[in-house]
């Protein structure tokens, strides 16, 4: 009787063990499946090419959101994959900003065009990715450096929209 009681108190629940084995098997299986068939993350933000937008007149009413980006920069790729494919972020950017991507070519071509150097200097860009929200008059409202979480990016965007509205009044 004592042995049975002791066994009951120090035994590991079978349901927990079985659950663990099932979940672990599913994890391994799903990892292999998603590695072979990457999931469709949907559309990301429709960025305008900075070179093209330099030649066109700016949309007078809309705020501009510059994304300073580099093809070799892995945090930039993660930001694009994880944050810019988030429906709420993408909709907020597309409905409130003229989204412009500035792709740095210094490493590939040795030098950036002059307009890009001036843009980077004006908005104090020292790292990628950097998001800079700019008022229609060209003045920077705020900037966010690094691959932040979607919630941080959303908070940053909401604050810049609010600051721009206050400024316009």
């Amino acid at each position: 009787m004592e042995l049975t009681e002791d066994f009951r108190l120090t035994s590991t629940p079978r349901s927990l063990l079985i659950g663990c084995i099932i979940l672990l098997t599913l994890r391994i299986g799903l990892s292999i499946f998603e590695w072979q068939h990457p999931i469709n993350r949907g559309r990301t933000v429709a960025w305008q090419d900075a070179a093209v937008s330099q030649e066109q007149p700016a949309d007078g009413k809309k705020l501009r959101l510059y994304e300073f980006y580099a093809d070799w920069c892995s945090p930039c790729q993660r930001l694009e994959r994880d944050v810019m494919s988030n429906d709420e972020i993408r909709d907020t950017i597309e409905s409130n900003f003229q989204a412009i991507r500035v792709v740095d070519k210094q490493r590939e071509e040795g030098k950036n065009p002059k307009w890009m150097q001036e843009l980077q200097k004006k908005y104090r860009v020292f790292a990628f990715p950097t998001l800079v929200a700019v008022a229609p008059d060209g003045e920077a409202i705020g900037s966010l450096v690094g691959n932040s979480s979607s919630l941080s990016v959303y908070r940053f965007l909401s604050r810049t929209i609010n600051d721009a509205a206050k400024k316009a009044k």
Partner: protein, 267 residues
């Protein structure tokens, strides 16, 4: 089913009655991040990497470290704090599963509530300065903090209850490698390609970050609820990874406690 009400009550009481624990949690969990947020809002700057850390999983891990150390019961045979449930063990039989599971539920509930409260306060500070967080965003933050607390509590409880030194040292090293990766800002420095020692340092940092990332995915997987709810095609993998790791930690903690012999030395 596996939750013992008496152990739950004693653990909550122990957490509430320890002034040192309360002060640590208040300072690191509330004073520092809220101060940082207010400073950023006053100066119109974006949230820093340190702020992101303190309001995310790293912040939760700081709170959990102190909670688990004081409440998990790694010092079962000692008197004083951490041993308050001993009369219970003496007076009636409690299964080891019940004990581990109750401790995990209690620590997760306390840590998750504190971290969620911190996130809500930070969101309210931002709100006062025109920074909004959608209802979905707020809900996601709260759920994420409870999930972070759950996995961290399970991992730490297992590390504390399993007395094997190799296991404990390996767990602590893994935890610090993961944390080290979190402290490096996720940016690439602009400018021409570095050379020599600078290039070597950059490559070493990249390797460290990759190791920390892979280790994090393996031992502390998280679920980004906000991204998951706003995804074109939600992936099930993070959810399965989270619950499989959680299950392993809890089962491991129960097996380790079952194998241990407890000697209740009394006067």
């Amino acid at each position: 089913m596996w939750v013992n009400k008496a152990i739950f009550k004693f653990t909550v009481m122990s957490a509430c009655l320890d002034p040192m624990k309360l002060m640590y949690v208040a300072l690191l969990g509330f004073v520092v991040p809220i101060g940082m947020k207010l400073a950023a809002l006053y100066h119109g700057s974006a949230d820093s990497q340190t702020f992101e850390m303190l309001t995310g999983k790293v912040g939760v891990s700081f709170i959990m470290m102190v909670l688990c150390l004081g409440l998990a019961g790694n010092s079962t045979t000692q008197s004083g704090r951490g041993g308050e449930y001993l009369p219970l063990l003496f007076s009636r039989p409690v299964s080891r599963t019940e004990y581990v599971f109750t401790k995990w539920v209690t620590i997760t509930a306390i840590g998750g509530t504190l971290a969620a409260l911190q996130n809500i306060l930070v969101a309210l500070c931002g709100f006062a300065f025109g920074e909004t967080t959608s209802a979905l965003g707020l809900l996601s933050m709260i759920i994420e903090r409870y999930l972070d607390s759950g996995i961290l509590a399970a991992g730490m409880i297992w590390t504390m209850l399993n007395k094997h030194p190799v296991f404990q040292v390996t767990s602590i090293i893994a935890f610090y490698v993961w944390m080290l990766g979190q402290t490096v800002p996720p940016v690439s420095v602009a400018g021409p390609q570095a050379s020599g020692v600078d290039q070597l340092a950059l490559e070493a940092t990249k390797i460290l970050l990759d190791c920390s990332g892979y280790l994090g995915d393996l031992v502390l997987p998280g679920i980004n609820i906000y991204d998951l709810l706003n995804a074109h095609t939600p992936s099930l993998l993070p959810i399965i990874a989270y619950f499989s790791t959680l299950g392993i930690y809890l089962t491991g903690a129960i097996i380790s406690t079952n194998k241990r012999e407890f000697f209740y030395g009394t006067n």
